[in-house]
Symmetry: C2
Subunit: 219 residues, 2 copies
């Protein structure tokens, strides 16, 4: 696939066009740092937006869930889908309320999803999903058995029509507002891990693995 | 409005029904803790999901942006909209990959938005939006002037058709998996503030206000 995505009229950033990102690697960085995507689809004319986990392998996104999921079954019909990932990086405090903003990075992928039928690709997609959330975890867990694999639907979405958007940096105030006595600046925000909590049924002698202890979304 | 939302076939939680939340106050707590919502709408059959800020006043959500925003203008036509707010609370590590999960709280509101025309309601909506993000900020900033108000579109979405969903607690493993030597437990996750960064043009003698210094989404 091309290194630079070709924005369509549907993915080109119109508002604040300088914030648009069309470089594939830059958008992949956003996708790889995110933990939760919001999946949009239409049913009977009504849009629905549902939070989900996801994984990426090359130029594809993978979604998964129960074969009983209404949403996944709807997506499996090949309806148009929108997958959005948003990272909130900071609150931007200006001197005027009008110039307040947020620093963020977001990515949008449009397309239609396909069911993964090949058992090897399905298992590999589940591994990618797991490693996306917690690199290093897969080797420590009991892998899915036949029954569990049958109960799991995996969908693949090609990353073809996509774009990103980002705001960074300090507030941009009107010149005439700089004389105001108001504090202005940025409050960085990030999703952070707390202290791991052992499962009540875990042998307390068992140590917390490093990939949990040192968990971070930043690469 | 009724204290308990009446879930429709569109908002009733089907998968993992015990995770469904229909109590209005419980859903409002989710909405009030969130910073970013994901707004879904349809244009030419394609769903779009866009991250936005929002505020709540009573039984209404408020969205705002530029009058030039394609999305807001589309919503202003009265098309069906879905607003979703998701709070990620933790990663759930089970002994089997199949039983891995996430702890989260999410809220979904379906409906159609209306443009706020009344200047007093518009200003109050902007205040609610500001106080939603940073309680205490509004009194310190230069309020919007006529030009800025004209450039801003504010939309109101009644919270009528809604539901929430949540998972809490430790992993739920198959009995037969408890003998495995795998670490299991929960890694709490939360959106946290870092150290405030002064605007480069700010008088360094000016102190950071308490509502920035002690910023937290938890009430």
């Amino acid at each position: 696939m091309s290194k630079i995505g070709n924005p369509t009229s549907r993915t080109r950033v119109v508002r604040e066009p300088h914030r648009g990102i069309y470089d594939r690697e830059a958008v992949y960085q956003i996708l790889d740092e995110g933990l939760v995507c919001h999946v949009g689809f239409v049913s009977d004319g009504q849009p629905f937006v549902i939070p989900m986990n996801y994984g990426r392998s090359g130029d594809h996104l993978y979604l998964h869930g129960s074969v009983a999921s209404r949403m996944l079954r709807r997506l499996d019909e090949g309806v148009p889908v929108c997958v959005t990932v948003t990272l909130l990086d900071g609150l931007v405090f200006a001197r005027s309320i009008f110039n307040h903003s947020m620093n963020y990075r977001s990515a949008v992928v449009l397309g239609t999803a396909e069911r993964v039928e090949d058992p090897r690709e399905k298992l590999e997609a589940l591994r990618k999903l797991s490693e996306h959330i917690t690199p290093g975890r897969w080797k420590d867990v009991r892998p899915p058995n036949e029954t569990e694999l049958k109960a799991t639907l995996v969908l693949r979405l090609p990353i073809q029509e996509f774009s990103g958007k980002a705001r960074t940096g300090p507030p941009v105030d009107d010149e005439s507002d700089h004389a105001l006595p108001t504090w202005a600046g940025v409050l960085p925000m990030a999703l952070r891990a707390g202290e791991p909590i052992n499962d009540p049924r875990l042998d307390p002698a068992r140590g917390v693995p490093d990939y949990v202890k040192n968990y971070s979304r930043k690469k």
